[in-house]
């Protein structure tokens, strides 16, 4: 069966990482759909598998010993695992662009900002050197970087953390992609620069029908940008739904706990609320509900066997929790 609707679809994807030479499952049966003009948020604690999932979309994990063990990723119906190297190369940064979580993983310290940005533009848009530089300067001003002209001649080392992050955002926009996968794109940016970036991305979403997948731990950003939210825990999607539902009626105890930890809703001087314990590493997931060891509501049933997804609201809201299924 072949889907042809315009969409970036992750279908039942499982990934294994290599730990001490052995494959260990790190992402389990993840399904996500990103449509043009929509913003999908992916949230969850550190180490849940968000970046592994995001990077799989460009098949980037393969260079770090990450292997697909199940499932598929379809770009407008075409499997990215069936693409030739040449098609894949043109897709990366072309139709689908990525903003990396850590800018220095994506910037080469020995080339200037101008040559790195210019290369992306020339490769995908085929512009002349001069036109590419003009476009590059425009992109840098767009993300709020002053003095774009002289920035083009700088090496990444001479930029502050937030400046590098903005260069990466500019680079992702360079070739007018259909989809952007942005992994924690604003962690180094203060609120007012963040607002500028938000406005810029919204403009692209509206005018160019950009589809955006936003990996973030910042609920302010989720509130500003996302149409839909997926919550990840220990390699699985444990809840997904429209953004308003997730804020107003989070169903999974994990989502509820995450929402309760936001520092803006606690008082200075007091200890900040936490979810006790930590995310189990790949290979150390409990059987049954993976969140059970940290969940106040977990009973024997939760620990007995893997928990299936339960969907309601015509399938728009779903959660992986026995209690949610019972109470519905």
């Amino acid at each position: 069966m072949r889907h042809t609707a315009a969409m970036l679809e992750i279908r039942d994807l499982s990934l294994a990482v290599s730990i001490q030479g052995r494959p260990v499952e790190a992402v389990s049966s993840v399904s996500l759909q990103l449509r043009p003009g929509r913003v999908l948020g992916l949230v969850g604690e550190s180490g849940c598998g968000k970046s592994l999932t995001a990077q799989a979309v460009l098949r980037l994990g393969e260079y770090q010993g990450v292997a697909r063990t199940q499932g598929d990723i379809l770009l407008d119906g075409e499997s990215i695992f069936a693409m030739s190297d040449e098609t894949l190369r043109r897709m990366r940064g072309g139709r689908v662009a990525m903003v990396f979580q850590e800018p220095m993983t994506a910037l080469n310290p020995v080339f200037t900002i101008g040559s790195q940005l210019g290369e992306v533009i020339r490769l995908h848009l085929g512009l002349s050197r001069r036109a590419a530089m003009e476009r590059a300067a425009g992109l840098l001003s767009g993300v709020g970087l002053q003095d774009a002209g002289s920035l083009l001649g700088q090496y990444p080392d001479a930029l502050s953390g937030g400046m590098r992050q903005r260069v990466l955002i500019a680079m992702a926009m360079a070739a007018d992609p259909d989809y952007i996968i942005a992994d924690e794109p604003t962690t180094a940016l203060d609120v007012s620069v963040q607002k500028r970036i938000i406005a810029l991305l919204r403009g692209l979403q509206r005018d160019r029908n950009l589809g955006l997948m936003l990996v973030t731990h910042d609920f302010g950003l989720v509130a500003e940008m996302c149409d839909d939210v997926a919550v990840m825990y220990a390699g699985q999607i444990v809840e997904a739904g429209p953004v308003g539902e997730i804020f107003d009626r989070p169903a999974h105890p994990y989502t509820q706990a995450l929402m309760a930890c936001r520092p803006e809703i606690s008082r200075p001087g007091e200890a900040l609320p936490v979810i006790p314990g930590q995310v189990p590493a790949p290979g150390q997931w409990p059987q049954g509900c993976r969140f059970a060891p940290r969940c106040g509501r977990a009973g024997p049933d939760c620990r007995a066997a893997a928990i299936a997804e339960y969907a309601w609201r015509d399938g728009a809201h779903l959660a992986r929790c026995l209690h949610v299924a019972e109470e519905a």
Binding site: D147, S150, G162, D190, K195, V274
Partner: protein
């Protein structure tokens, strides 16, 4: 209050020369006339927008970068003129968590070696087994289990790498910790765990933190005092409670007013606040082009702190009630 001053900097200046291709470009005065004292057991936060000179200030205070002028004191000792070799034994006093964890970890070194590096230098008497124990314990405190020890940096998530950087700094039990955006990559829960951990250690050991962050909801939680940087200058400093309740500098006021929204219903066609990041003036008050209160006299302002509190000719009133 006569607490010991564990770190102080005086009139620090750092000018980066424009190099290479673009000779015509202007030099960058990344840090301009910055002074502060950090006392035993307290947290001084440095806040300010991207590019305002926070990380450069941190690196100057750590003596990882030579100042163009000004002086750096560790525990009262002037360390400005010391070379790397002379500084090395003193570094157990002051450690740093870097803003970019990926760039600050050696990709070819197993995590346990990276974290144990400081121990080898500052605690040479410890056996290998004792070092491994200490590494395991410190990693656990930072929310990482033992299996992390024998893996390489690329095998971790971004937030895990950030916590490895914190473990590496904590393990030598410094008196001063310079933390450059230490929790920016962490989700709310793990962030809270780390902030609570830092607070506990501070209470147990009287540690001092120079805490750099652009996230005011975090700063509000950790800071005793705040220095606000803008365009390389400290434009306001004071007790955290005072700065939050009654900012004196128009920039601080703008910073505090720019809040993230808490619910999708608050979404508007949010354009950046007028003049939010529109650059700075090269002469006179550097905040002038964006300041809603700017007057003619501001073109002649020298950007210096007045009474060690605020660098503004027309500061906002100190009493919040005297507003509007």
């Amino acid at each position: 209050m006569s607490r010991e001053t564990v770190l102080s900097v005086r009139n620090l200046d750092k000018v980066f020369r424009a190099g290479g291709l673009f000779r015509a470009a202007a030099d960058t005065r990344a840090v301009a006339d910055v002074s502060f004292d950090l006392h035993a057991g307290e947290t001084l936060a440095i806040v300010g927008e991207s590019g305002s000179g926070k990380s450069t200030t941190a690196r100057l205070a750590m003596r990882l970068l030579d100042p163009s002028s000004g002086r750096v004191f560790w525990k009262g000792e002037d360390v400005t003129g010391l070379n790397a070799r002379a500084l090395r034994p003193k570094r157990s006093h002051i450690q740093m968590v870097f803003q970019d964890p990926f760039a600050s970890l050696n990709p070819r070194m197993k995590i346990w070696h990276t974290v144990a590096e400081g121990l080898r230098v500052h605690r040479p008497e410890l056996s290998r087994a004792a070092r491994r124990d200490r590494v395991a314990e410190t990693l656990r405190l930072c929310g990482l289990d033992e299996s992390a020890m024998d893996r390489y940096p690329h095998q971790f998530s971004g937030g895990q790498r950030q916590r490895i950087g914190i473990a590496r700094a904590l393990i030598v039990e410094p008196q001063v910790l310079v933390l450059d955006e230490p929790v920016s990559a962490l989700d709310v829960s793990v962030q809270a765990q780390i902030l609570n951990l830092l607070k506990d250690i501070q209470q147990q050991r009287g540690l001092s933190y120079l805490f750099i962050s652009h996230d005011l909801s975090v700063v509000r939680h950790v800071a005793d005092r705040i220095s606000v940087m803008f365009g390389g200058h400290v434009v306001e400093q004071g007790r955290a409670a005072d700065v939050f309740s009654a900012p004196r500098h128009p920039y601080t006021e703008a910073l505090l007013e720019a809040r993230p929204i808490a619910h999708p219903a608050a979404r508007m066609d949010s354009r950046p606040p007028k003049g939010a990041d529109e650059g700075l003036a090269r002469s006179g008050c550097s905040f002038r082009p964006r300041c809603v209160y700017a007057r003619d006299a501001c073109t002649g302002f020298d950007n210096r702190l007045r009474d060690d509190v605020v660098a503004c000719l027309y500061p906002l009133p100190a009493e919040p009630s005297a507003r509007d």
